[in-house]
Structures are given as structure tokens and as C-alpha cells.
């Protein structure tokens, strides 16, 4: 251990304070990633609604108009759910629901209809309601329909007053009214315990997206997805590239020709086109997907497998080229000749004398490919070909395209920031590795 710690390369690395810092950051990301991997943050929570949609981060208060909408939507959504839980066979309710689904835009007329119908048909069913609707840490309070109705009536009265005001955003008196409305709406929920309050605050720290999902949780969860994609593809690509490159450089002849032909062919298809083709090939409903479904019991299109294949198909070329060149150089060195004269076989020399001496290039390439994979994921997700389930920075950036037009920068900033820090750390690390191992590299 001491020998390793004091070796020339490690000493050089230790002198580079920035690289050490980058390594610490990468360590932190990997730590968080592994924590999520073992179940520290469930995908269900990441995908679930924790608060009203589009609320800003850092506990900034949304615009008054938005607050009003949120408050009304609270009641509306909850009441709708309650009706959904009523006796399903009741034709009247079913009809009502259909009508509701058709009626769009304004929340208030819908709300009034809902309450009217609840009065008519659902009284008994609503009292027997056991588990309330929950949003994040909020749970619907258990109460009788009468109490429920009282709160809703009170809320609607305030809402009516607010509705008459022309412009909520301009009128300062309305703020207190809105706060009153929010207070009334909050009575629909059980009060939060201090622990729940803490979690609820944490979820909304960076705001919520279009579906009311926590941006912070999504951004953090994406660390796992990004590292998973990055590490798997970089590892496979480096292994394939090194083995093929070393074999091509060492044996020469037809092996060399074949490997060069393979990588020239694959690298002649534009990277993005190849990615798109592979993702298309493995998409749902295709033969590959059907085959996997039949013989492995699971479809491929929802997994990350197409992404891995698409990335690995081109990513191995970089390390292969570099290591082939390095192998050709090493092959000429004296110690290889010495090994040959000592009677070691070609394969033995390749495995034990040549490949270990290209390890530094593998490290550098691993780091570079990891960056490439994380950044390509964003582009694939934009094209709807990348990560399908859960969250990823690519999905977040893609979704934020429309938010930006409404001056909402929370999601794009969060995803960009989390990605920026990781990619920057890896960029610094690769530079440091390159300086140490391969100073002449351009």
C-alpha cells in the first residue's frame, strides 16, 4: 500500500489539488448513486406527485394567480378522486365522470358540478372512505361528508370573491385572501408532523415539474441512471476495445485487417444515426423485443439495454485505436523480445506483458467515454429513444424545453447543474490522468 501511495504516478496525482477535489466529488456522486441503487430512493417516489405543479424552488412563493389555481385544484382534484372511489356500478357517477372528462378549461364549474353530484349520489359512500388521497406527505383528513362539504363551501366562497377581482397579480389586498383560501384548503389535510414537514420541504426545495413531481428527487435519482449508463457502457467499451486493439496490434495480419475494417465500418456511420438505428431496432414491437420477451421473459424496450448497445457499438472504437497503436509500439520494446526469447507464448505475452502496460490508456479512455455516455444520454432522451422509465437528466432537460418559454428555469437549471458538476469533475480527472500518463498527447 505504501509503495503504491508513494509511487511516482500517485505522487504526481496527489500534487494536483484540483484533480483530488474532482475525485472527491465523483466519490460523492458514486456514493449517492450506490445509495439509490440499493433502494435508498424508490422510483415510485420519484415518479409521484408531491405538490402542486410548477411551484418554484427555494420556497419562493408562486404568483398569486398560480396560488389561487393551486388551491382550487387541490379541492377539485381531491373531490374528483373521492367520486372516483364511489360505488363504481352507480350509473349516474359513471356518466358524470365521463362528462367531467370532456369538460375542460375552467376548474370552478367542474368543481360545482362535482359537489352537486356528490351530494346527490355519494353521501353514504364518502363517509365510508378509509384511506385518503395523499400528495407527498399530505394525507386527506378523515371526516364526514358534512364537514368536508363545509370546508369546500367556505373555500368556494373565497374563491368566488377572488374570481371577481380582475387581476390577481396586481391587487395587493388579494394576497391575504389567497392565504385565507390556502388555510381553508389545508384543513382538508391532516396536519403534518414535524418530520413530515421536513420531508415535504425537502421535496419542494427545487420546486416541482409539470406533474407536480419533485425536481430535487428527480435530479438526484438521475445520478444513479447517469452513472449506471456511464459505467456500464464505458466499462464494456474499454474491455472490448482493449482486447480487440491489443490483438490487432500484436498479431497483425488478417486479425489487424479485420479489426480495422470493423471499426472503420462502424465509425463511418455517424454516431447519432447509429444510436438511432440501434434504438429503433430494439424498440417495442420489433422482432428483437419479441424474442427477448419470449426467451428472457422481459421486453427490452423499457430497459436500458438498447442504450447500452447503441453506445457500446461506437464507443469501443476510441480505446481500440489508441491501444492498437500503443501495442504496436510496445511490441518492439526489448522486454517483449526478452520474453519471447525466454520461451513465453504469444498469448501469454499479450495478456501478461502488453495489456497491463496499456492500462493507463484504459483509465483515460474510461473517463472520457463516461463523459460521452452521460452527454449522449441527454440527446437520446430528447429523441425519445433513451431512458424510458424513471428519471434522467436527459428527460428533465427535454421536458423543460416548454417550461423555459414560461420563464420557468427550475427544472433545466437543476438538471444542468447536477450534470455539470459530474461532467466537470470527470473532465478535470481525465485531464489530470492525461497529464500524468500521456503528457505528449494532443
Amino acid at each position: 500500500m505504501g509503495r503504491f501511495w508513494n509511487s511516482r504516478t500517485v505522487r504526481k496525482f496527489r500534487r494536483n489539488k484540483l484533480a483530488i477535489f474532482a475525485l472527491v466529488i465523483i466519490g460523492a456522486y458514486v456514493g449517492v448513486g450506490s445509495f439509490i441503487m440499493v433502494g435508498g430512493l424508490s422510483e415510485k417516489l420519484v415518479m409521484s406527485r408531491v405538490a402542486p405543479n410548477h411551484i418554484p424552488g427555494f420556497y419562493f412563493s408562486p404568483l398569486p394567480e398560480k396560488r389561487f389555481d393551486n388551491a382550487v385544484n387541490y379541492i377539485f382534484r381531491d373531490v374528483e378522486r373521492q367520486i372516483g372511489r364511489l360505488n363504481k356500478s352507480n350509473d349516474e357517477v359513471a356518466k358524470l365522470q365521463k362528462r367531467l372528462a370532456r369538460a375542460k378549461d375552467d376548474a370552478k364549474p367542474r368543481l360545482e358540478k362535482l359537489i352537486a353530484s356528490a351530494e346527490r349520489s355519494g353521501r353514504s359512500a364518502m363517509t365510508s372512505l378509509e384511506d385518503g388521497f395523499s400528495m407527498g406527505r399530505y394525507r386527506l383528513a378523515k371526516m364526514s361528508v358534512e364537514e368536508y362539504q363545509e370546508i369546500i363551501d367556505e373555500a368556494l366562497d373565497i374563491a368566488d370573491e377572488l374570481d371577481e377581482s380582475q387581476d390577481l397579480n396586481e391587487d395587493p389586498d388579494m394576497i391575504s385572501k389567497i392565504e385565507e383560501l390556502e388555510g381553508v384548503c389545508n384543513r382538508l389535510y391532516e396536519p403534518l408532523s414535524s418530520q413530515d414537514k421536513f420531508f415535504q420541504n425537502a421535496y419542494t426545495f427545487l420546486g416541482t415539474d409539470r406533474q407536480g413531481r419533485s425536481i430535487l428527487l428527480r435530479a438526484v435519482y438521475s445520478i444513479k441512471v447517469a452513472l449506471q449508463i456511464g459505467i456500464v457502457t464505458a466499462l464494456i467499451s474499454v474491455v472490448i476495445g482493449s482486447v480487440l486493439g491489443a490483438a490487432a496490434g500484436f498479431y497483425g495480419g488478417w486479425v489487424d485487417f479485420l479489426v480495422i475494417w470493423l471499426y472503420s465500418t462502424l465509425s463511418s456511420i455517424p454516431n447519432l444515426v447509429l444510436l438511432v438505428l440501434v434504438a429503433y431496432l430494439m424498440g417495442s414491437g420489433g422482432r428483437v423485443d419479441d424474442f427477448a420477451q419470449e426467451y428472457m421473459g422481459m421486453g427490452l424496450s423499457d430497459t436500458l439495454f438498447p442504450v447500452y448497445v447503441a453506445f457500446c457499438a461506437t464507443f469501443w472504437i476510441g480505446p481500440c485505436r489508441v491501444i492498437r497503436g500503443e501495442t504496436m509500439k510496445i511490441k518492439q520494446l526489448e522486454y517483449i523480445q526478452a520474453a519471447t526469447t525466454s520461451g513465453f507464448g504469444n498469448f501469454y505475452i499479450l495478456i501478461w506483458h502488453i495489456i497491463p502496460n496499456t492500462a493507463h490508456l484504459m483509465f483515460i479512455n474510461f473517463s472520457l467515454l463516461l463523459i460521452g455516455a452521460i452527454k449522449s444520454e441527454v440527446i437520446l432522451s430528447f429523441l425519445n429513444l433513451g431512458v424510458k422509465k424513471g428519471a434522467s437528466w436527459g428527460i428533465m432537460i427535454r421536458d423543460s424545453g416548454s417550461e423555459v418559454l414560461n420563464n420557468n428555469f427550475w427544472q433545466i437549471s437543476a438538471a444542468t447543474f447536477f450534470m455539470f458538476v459530474l461532467v466537470l469533475a470527470f473532465n478535470i480527472l481525465s485531464d489530470a490522468l492525461q497529464d500524468i500518463f500521456d503528457p505528449k498527447h494532443l
Binding site: W261, S264, T265, S267, S268, I269, P270, N271, L272, V273, V276, L277, Y280, L281, G283, G285, G286, R287, V288, K375, V378, I379, F382, L383, W393, G394, I397, R398, S400, G401, V404, L405, I412, T416, M419, F420, V423, L424, N427, I428, D431, L442
Partner: protein, 341 residues
Amino acid sequence: MWSYIARRIIYNIPVYLGIILLVMAALRVNDPIYGNLGKHATQEDYDRLKKDAGLDKPFLVQYGIFLKKIALFDFDSDDMMSWDQKGKTVGSLLKDSIPPSLALTIPALFFTSLISIGVGMVSAFNRGRWVDRSLVVAAVLGMSVSFLVYIILGQYFGAYQMSESFGAKIFAIEGFKSFETFKTGEDGGLEFHPNRILSDGQNWLHYCLLPVMISVIVAMGYDTRFYRAAMVEETGKDYIVTARAKGASSSKIMFVHMLRNAMIPIVTRIMITLPFLITGSFLLEMYFGIPGMGRTLIQAINGNDFPVIQAYTAIFAGLFIVTNILTDVLYAIFDPRVRLL
């Protein structure tokens, strides 16, 4: 020299044949007709489309026919009809989509190279000073942000916010107007309209300058670092010391001695960025609604438009190979030793 060029071309022929084989085989793994028509198609429709696209022939025959078509640039025949855009052949789609793509890629390549070579030279010449350091840091920071973020924010601030807040409608949020200076006439020949140059220029500025700027900013991080490293490599060489000892001015050393010798990595780099520009412009074309080749291909993939996918992939690969050969040849011009290899 000519023998070298001939060798490069001959060498790349099996590579291209391999690509076509690979692409054609890959596209037939999932039934393309089924993908396009969906499950409610009648057997007649299925058979008709199969026959029209020539998919009923044996694979190797299809391979031969397709190769012949590519060799003759014949994209207007019956089996090259687009399945989604009725009445259009791959050839006519190509004719429509190449000019917008070029309007984006060529200026982007030009400005990227020009600016990053300049910045790289400034950085290398001031090596170790604060100018150099801040440029290097800026390059690394710029490299760490996703391309998509540049596009989204660039579009928002450059086009949307500019026209909303300041009323300055300099850049279009999206869209494209085709050029009219060179136009295909009635008889199919190319007509030249000199009076349209000005309006075409204006259109270009309105629709293409912003995407080009975004593309330049994105590529600059990578390129500046590379050019700086290439120049730094040269500054340490003996001939620079000699030139300095002989009293050559620093600008002469920089532009005449250094730049010329750093040309090999620079040219290689420019050629290597070409493919990046093609793929990079995919996203720009999608976001800015520019009907270029990348957007056409992605649309074809989304619509399972098999003949277009097949032909476009083959054309993209062909472009790649041509740039590869060009790189090799330029390399050989700048560094005669390469020709011996």
C-alpha cells in the same frame, strides 16, 4: 500522390460495402412494412408495398440493386418512393434537404475553425498567463454543459426573449426559407437569380445565424483546447528558437512559422469535426425547424419510412467516408511522410 489517393479510395470501398450490408440487414430485422402500415393493413396493401419497395426479391439481389442505385446517384426510381410523404422520391427529398443542411454546417465549420484557431493561438502564445488560464478554464466549463441546454437557452434568450422584451425580431424562433438565388428552373436546369442574393442573405441571417452561433459556441470548448495544445507543442520546437534568435517578429513567428507547422493537427481536427457538425446539426435542425437532412432522417425513423431511412443512412455513411478520404489526402499534402505508409 495520385497513387496514394487511389490507394485510399480503394481501401475504403470494402468499408463502404460493409456499411451498406450492415445497414440493409439491420433495417430488415424488424419488418419495415408492418412497422409502417400497422396491424390493420390488408394483405393486398402489404404485398403492394413490398413489391413497390423491391422487398420481395432475395436479399442479395436487393443489395446489388441498392448498390447500383447509389453508384449512379439514382434516387428517383419507383422503389425509392417515400412511404410517408406521398409522391416524393428520396431524390426529391434530398434535393430539398441538402441546401438547408449546408446553410447550417458550412458557416458553422468555418466560424468554429476560424475563431477557435484564433483563440487557441492567443492562448498558446500567452501560455501560463491569466489570459491563457481563464481561456482554458472557460473551455472546460463550456464543455461540461449539455448541447441541448445551449440550444434551449440560446433559442429562448436569442430569439424568444429578444423579440418579446426588446421587440428586436432579429432571429426567428424556428423555421426556414429556401434559397432562391439558385433555383431549379422549369426545364430542370439550375437558374441563377442575382437579384435574390440580398433577400437570401437576410433570410439566412434571420433563420440560420442563431443556430450557427450556438453550434460555434458548443464546439469552441473542444476545439480551442485542442488547437492550444497543438500550438503549445510547436512553441517548444527548435525552429521557433532559431527564428527568434534570428530576430523574427513575434507575429511573424506566430502566423508564418508556427501556424504552418501546426497545420497537420489543425486540418485533421477540422475534418474530424465535420461528422460532429452533421450529427450536431440534427438537434439544431429539430429545434429550429430547419428542414435539413438530419431532421428528414429523424422524421423518417419516427414514421417508419423505410426507403428514406435506408437511403439517408447510406448517404450519411458515404459522406463520412468521403471526409475520411479527404482528411487522409490533406494530411498527405501537409506531411509528405504519410504517403509512404
